[in-house]
């Protein structure tokens, strides 16, 4: 790893500095290389939807952004901090990078409200009253004002996922990462979660969304990235990627699922 510092992070020519910049990202699990050199810039307010078949490395790339996965090589910047620098205080970065998981990962021993309050209290050191107030606002925002005191086991999958989104939003993130947020849900529960995500996108939240929801990608994405075999095969506006894909692989993939 080079000793590149924050100050000489390359700025993208001709536009403002991206909020997330990924450069030549590689990741191997044992002998298997999952990411084979990813370059991606995400700008403030942008909604980037990452598509691709299973095993293409979409989730791994996403998890590298907040270093839940340790990159093998390459660089990632978040705002003006190099995440891949070993000296970086990851907890500080993660405060501002919200993440929503496929399996929700709510804390089962806490109520919905307590789930949303915990990190506010521990990480942001907000007072109990302040954290509770923020939790109420965020839970209302995701349509769960009447479920605040329920435990996760008493909520449907869709409700759980919306609590998870509220939990991430309560930290005032600068970017939200969605890792197949609707894949574990029954079809009838997907819509509620997607509505919340659309609402977020309209509100100007920077989002990187790994999903299989083509409709969401078409409607909401500013940019669609198609990955396969650990590389970005194609990226562009949804109309272009869906309507007139350049790559044969993309064409086959979109043809398969729509």
């Amino acid at each position: 790893m080079t000793t590149e510092t924050i100050s000489n992070a390359p700025a993208q020519a001709g536009s403002e500095q991206p909020i997330v910049r990924i450069q030549d990202l590689h990741k191997s699990f044992g002998g298997t290389e999952v990411l084979k050199g990813i370059d991606l810039d995400v700008h403030r307010g942008e909604v980037v939807v990452v598509l691709g078949p299973s095993g293409s490395g979409k989730s791994t790339m996403l998890r590298c952004i907040n270093r839940l996965e340790e990159p093998t090589s390459g660089h990632i910047w978040f705002e003006d901090v190099e995440i891949t620098n070993p000296k970086t205080n990851l907890n500080k970065v993660r405060e501002h990078v919200g993440m929503v998981f496929q399996s929700f990962n709510l804390f089962p021993h806490l109520t919905a409200k307590e789930n949303v309050m915990l990190a506010q209290r521990k990480v942001l050191k907000r007072s109990k009253e302040e954290a509770a107030r923020v939790a109420e606002v965020q839970l209302e925002r995701v349509g769960l004002a009447d479920r605040m005191d329920h435990y996760p086991s008493e909520l449907s999958g869709g409700q759980q996922q919306r609590v998870a989104i509220a939990r991430a939003l309560a930290m005032d993130p600068h970017v939200m990462l969605f890792d197949e947020a609707t894949s574990a849900l029954d079809p009838e529960l997907v819509r509620g979660v997607l509505d919340v995500m659309k609402e977020l996108a309209r509100g100007g939240m920077t989002m990187i969304v790994v999903t299989h929801e083509m409709g969401f990608a078409r409607d909401v994405a500013d940019r669609v990235v198609f990955m396969e075999g650990g590389v970005i095969v194609e990226e562009g506006a949804p109309d272009q990627v869906f309507g007139n894909p350049k790559s044969e692989r993309t064409r086959a993939f979109i043809g398969d699922i729509s």
């Binding site: 759980q160 079809p187 997607l194 699922i257």
Partner: protein
């Protein structure tokens, strides 16, 4: 001496037997040994009493000094009379004792039959015609149990004694023909029973000589009688019941479930039970703390810490606890380290249990879904914060049933401490069994274990079924499922917010 005369006593000795038949012969022997040793021990106090009696009754104050000197001379004579009998001026009570009747002990118990021995030595020129003994208040005795023997030096002298018991607590021994002068009298009262509440008792003596002189010898030395506990009273009552005797006539029932022994064992085994509980109450929390620290060490990123913890856990789990107890209890004193037995017992139990708890905690922590860790970390929580607020609360709930099992094991293992003499449940039972040759106390000990383990097992079982059952609204998520996709519990009505968004659920690749 008494030992030889006892068997010839009509009906006395059998009644005096304690409830524990098996040990009867030994108990008997011990009792008689104690009785034989008594005269020498009792002789001195009686002399002192006589001395004080004489000094406290001077006729005139100017003569006090002379009287004191006289008393001293008399005292010396009295001492001399033991060595050379017959030189004393009047009859002297040389012994007044009761035989110990405690099982495996040397106490005199109330409520159980005992033998009261009274000895008097007449002066050389004194011929006694009547002895009146005022027996202790509340003592039960009858004329049949009284045996009067005359002794001239070592020879027995036939005495025609008429014993009357008027019922006012006195015993009149009349000799129609006055006894030969200088005779020694032995009055044994078999089958006498002191009041169950016990206390301090004396026997007062009044002598009538052949010439009609009546002398009051005052109270004897004190006899200390221990009170009988409620259970001992109940036991001796049971002993007399016909159904108990019928029950005990069956060898198996008698050896394993003797009602009289159950009743007497419970209070003492209960003391051991309290000790065992005390050990558990101290050792288990200690084991939880140490076990948890060990678990953290075992999951440490640093190899040396991991290695130390693993080594400890594997050694403790790989060796018998019995051996660990022996090493601690016999090894430490050799190093000059002397720790209180109870404290050391607690420490050994804790150090053993913490190794097992370490593995329980480790398994509990590692059983928590990795997603929980990731979710907490993705929110910016540090590793210790994640551990404290997210992982441990869940892990703790998951390990409560296994922990309870470990608690039960620990509680049962306190019995091993009996091997090094800690007075816990089994040790008490063992002591009573050793004294009675009956297994009943062990059965009682078993009951004391079950009283704790059965409810705990039931609670554990309830917790286990409770945690696997899908937690309902009543469950308040105490043992809520992990948050991994829970497709079973959705409620479509609350989730179906309608939008026009066209959603196609894709196939999974």
């Amino acid at each position: 001496m008494a030992c030889r005369t006892a068997p010839s006593n009509p009906g006395g000795s059998l009644h005096a037997l304690p409830p524990f038949r098996i040990f009867d012969i030994g108990a008997h022997k011990r009792r008689f040994d104690a009785g034989d040793a008594a005269p020498i021990a009792a002789s001195d106090p009686s002399i002192i009493e006589r001395l004080t009696m004489n000094t406290s009754t001077p006729k005139a104050s100017p003569l006090a000094r002379i009287a004191l000197a006289f008393a001293l001379v008399l005292g010396l004579f009295a001492v001399g009379s033991l060595v050379v009998p017959g030189q004393a001026q009047a009859l002297e009570v040389t012994q007044c004792t009761a035989a110990p009747n405690e099982d495996g002990g040397n106490q005199i118990l109330g409520g159980a039959e005992t033998r009261i021995t009274w000895r008097g030595q007449a002066a050389e020129d004194e011929s006694v015609s009547s002895i009146v003994l005022t027996m202790p208040e509340g003592l039960q005795f009858d004329a049949d149990g009284v045996k009067v023997t005359g002794l001239d030096e070592l020879d027995r002298v036939e005495l025609n004694a008429q014993i009357t018991i008027p019922g006012d607590g006195t015993m009149h021994i009349d000799f129609p023909e006055p006894a030969p002068a200088g005779l020694s009298f032995l009055v044994e009262t078999y089958g006498a029973t002191f009041p169950t509440e016990g206390g301090t008792f004396t026997v007062s003596t009044q002598i009538t000589d052949a010439d009609g002189t009546v002398s009051d010898l005052g109270p004897s030395s004190e006899i200390q009688v221990a009170g009988l506990s409620k259970s001992e009273q109940l036991s001796s009552w049971l002993e007399d019941q016909e159904w108990v005797q019928a029950w005990n006539s069956n060898r198996f029932l008698h050896m394993f479930f003797d009602p009289t022994l159950i009743v007497t064992s419970i209070p003492s085994v209960a003391q051991g039970w309290v000790t065992a509980l005390g050990i558990v109450i101290i050792a288990f929390p200690l084991a939880i703390v140490v076990g948890f620290l060990l678990a953290l060490l075992r999951m440490s990123k640093l190899l040396p810490l991991r290695a130390i913890a693993s080594l400890y856990v594997n050694i403790v789990r790989g060796t018998p606890m019995f051996l660990q107890i022996y090493i601690a209890f016999f090894g430490l004193p050799l190093l000059g380290v002397n720790v209180d037995n109870f404290a050391l017992g607690c420490i050994v139990m804790a150090l053993n249990s913490c190794a097992y708890l370490c593995e329980i905690f480790r398994a509990g922590i590692q059983s928590i879904n990795k997603g929980q860790f990731e979710a907490a970390r993705s929110l910016g929580m540090s590793a210790p914060q994640t551990m404290l607020s997210v992982i441990i609360p869940q892990a703790f709930r998951n390990v409560i049933p296994t922990m309870t099992n470990e608690l039960i094991t620990l509680y049962k293992d306190t019995s091993l401490l009996a091997a090094v003499g800690i007075m816990e449940t089994v040790m008490y039972a063992k002591t009573i069994t050793a004294a009675t040759g009956n297994i009943t106390p062990y059965i009682v000990a078993a009951l004391f274990y079950l009283v704790v383990t059965l409810p705990m097992t039931a609670i554990t079982r309830r917790m286990e079924t409770g945690s696997t059952k899908k937690s309902s609204k009543k469950g308040k998520g105490l043992f809520g499922k992990s948050s991994s996709s829970d497709k079973g519990s959705w409620t479509p009505a609350t989730d179906g917010t309608s939008t026009k968004l066209e959603v196609k659920q894709p196939d999974y690749f």
